[in-house]
């Protein structure tokens, strides 16, 4: 049951103010996004229409803490087919940005591993200008699976290394100062 007193009517405006979230209010709830979704095909609990609907109703906490938010595979089928040009993939991105800020401020917990990996990846790009595959994947495995789990991936890493596909050290570009400035510019609202 939805308690109207718990709803946050401003949530949709909050999303619309994020880059990518601009078109959320255009949604007329047709379900076109969900019928074509490859993740819904294998997990009936995943329903992008519901995420958008709940967001429009103002169910802020429920949307931000639901694991569903992190299951979108960014395949853009819904984005392509949406008759209202809601740009669902990007709306999901806008909601994820809000969730990440709330988690950083200690207001909510995110249990999904997606933001952890993405942030490790983005940090390595911030530092080097390119992503540091061995370092990021290694750190992620250690953090999520422990030493035993990480060792399970060693044969894969070794065969990639043998084929000359994996570099032990990071590659750093010359223009890392420009990368730093890009981060500063896009982080300021």
């Amino acid at each position: 049951m939805i308690k109207t007193s718990d709803l946050d009517p401003d949530f949709k405006y909050e999303i619309a103010n994020e880059p990518g979230g601009e078109n959320i209010k255009k949604c007329f709830n047709c379900t076109g996004c969900t019928v074509g979704c490859p993740v819904t095909e294998i997990d009936k609990g995943y329903n992008p229409r519901k995420i958008i609907r709940k967001a429009l109703l103002g169910m802020r906490n429920e949307v931000l803490t639901d694991d569903s938010l992190w299951l979108c595979a960014s395949c853009y089928i819904c984005y392509e087919r949406c008759p209202q040009d809601v740009k669902i993939t990007e709306v999901i991105g806008a909601i994820r940005a809000i969730a990440q800020r709330e988690a950083k401020a200690g207001k909510i917990n995110i249990n999904n591993l997606k933001p952890l990996f993405d942030n490790l990846f983005i940090d390595s790009v911030k530092k080097n200008g390119k992503w540091y595959e061995a370092g990021v994947s290694g750190t992620f495995m250690l953090k999520t699976k422990g030493i035993g789990g990480a060792v399970g991936y060693a044969p894969m890493g070794l065969s990639l290394f043998r084929k000359g596909k994996l570099s032990i050290l990071p590659h750093k570009i010359k223009g890392t100062d420009q990368i730093k400035r890009i981060f500063e510019e896009v982080e300021t609202k």
Binding site: P38, V39, D118, F140
Partner: protein
């Protein structure tokens, strides 16, 4: 044709055979590639949901490409999407452009950029390219796999039909290989869930293998290093996780057309694919005789009815 070249991180790492075969094929097609200097990561799938960051990182590469004065070619579907999305925002979103121009110190007027498949199929042209094919690849039965960002969203990738693309189909046919109809050609491999929800990613990729086998394919042809990472790089992990044998070689489309051009397997780095294509390569030119067709019974007669007769 001289083009600026943005390989992206994977082509200097896990997708090195895509880089090698791209360079070999472009050279054979009479194209010169000039790698843009000091390029950076486009943000990949990890920043794709952080729209401004993804576009900001990509915009730096576009700015570098602009300096060359050449059109830009990109072999990776993810990079191609990210750079094209950034190019459009830099042209049409003034607030974003001023932020990025401030960060990078330069003016951006726009760069013409295309995915490598678009360049090959439409600029060089499948017909012109096929004149360089000296070896028929008869014996290869391929399904074309486009995946997601190569053709979607059509607002960003404009060169083919987003629901039923055909440019890769035509290229495959031109090599003499058989191109089989593939129901999953634009389905998602689950690449973006590989690290966070591996079981989902594996189920999604497994479906591609199952359907490719139903179609009768002996290989899958791709144009994206992320798709290749799942289909080729993770194939042994999927076999282990789902207790099955897949044994399906995955070729980059540049490796396929490189073979048709008579370029050596070594130059196309066919030894770098994780799933060995050795058996597939042996099958070229040695097509088995047609199997006897199964007779189809007349409609309307069930087996029970036949038995009663």
């Amino acid at each position: 044709m001289k083009l600026a070249y943005y390989p992206g991180c994977t082509l200097h790492g896990t997708a090195r055979e895509y880089d090698a075969s791209t360079k070999a094929v472009c050279k054979a097609a009479g194209m010169e590639l000039v790698e843009i200097e000091d390029w950076n990561c486009c943000g990949a799938l990890e920043a794709i949901f952080d729209k401004e960051l993804s576009m900001g990182l990509s915009a730096r590469n576009n700015m570098l490409a602009q300096k060359t004065g050449l059109d830009l070619v990109i072999p990776c579907s993810i990079c191609s999407h990210n750079l094209a999305r950034a190019d459009s925002a830099m042209k049409h979103n003034e607030a974003f452009r001023s932020k990025i121009e401030k960060a990078l110190g330069g003016k951006y007027t726009g760069v013409k950029m295309k995915h490598l498949l678009d360049v090959m199929a439409n600029d060089v042209g499948t017909e012109a390219l096929s004149k360089k094919f000296i070896k028929s690849l008869k014996g290869i039965k391929a399904v074309p796999y486009y995946g997601c960002l190569l053709v979607r969203p059509s607002e960003v990738s404009k060169f083919d039909n987003p629901e039923n693309p055909t440019s890769l189909d035509n290229l495959i046919q031109a090599t003499g290989a058989e191109c089989l109809p593939f129901t999953q050609k634009t389905k998602c491999c689950g690449g973006n869930l590989l690290m966070s929800k591996q079981d989902y990613a594996f189920i999604l990729t497994r479906k591609l293998f199952d359907e490719a086998k139903v179609a009768g394919a002996n290989c899958i042809v791709v144009a994206c290093p992320m798709c290749h990472m799942l289909l080729d790089g993770q194939q042994s992990m999927i076999e282990r996780a789902q207790n099955t044998i897949i044994d399906m070689p995955i070729l980059y489309f540049t490796q396929l057309i490189g073979l048709a051009m008579g370029i050596s397997e070594k130059e196309l780095e066919l030894d770098k694919n994780m799933v060995s294509p050795a058996k597939l390569l042996e099958s070229i030119g040695k097509e088995k005789p047609e199997e006897k067709k199964v007779e189809i019974k007349a409609p309307g007669k069930t087996e029970a009815a036949e038995a009663a007769e």
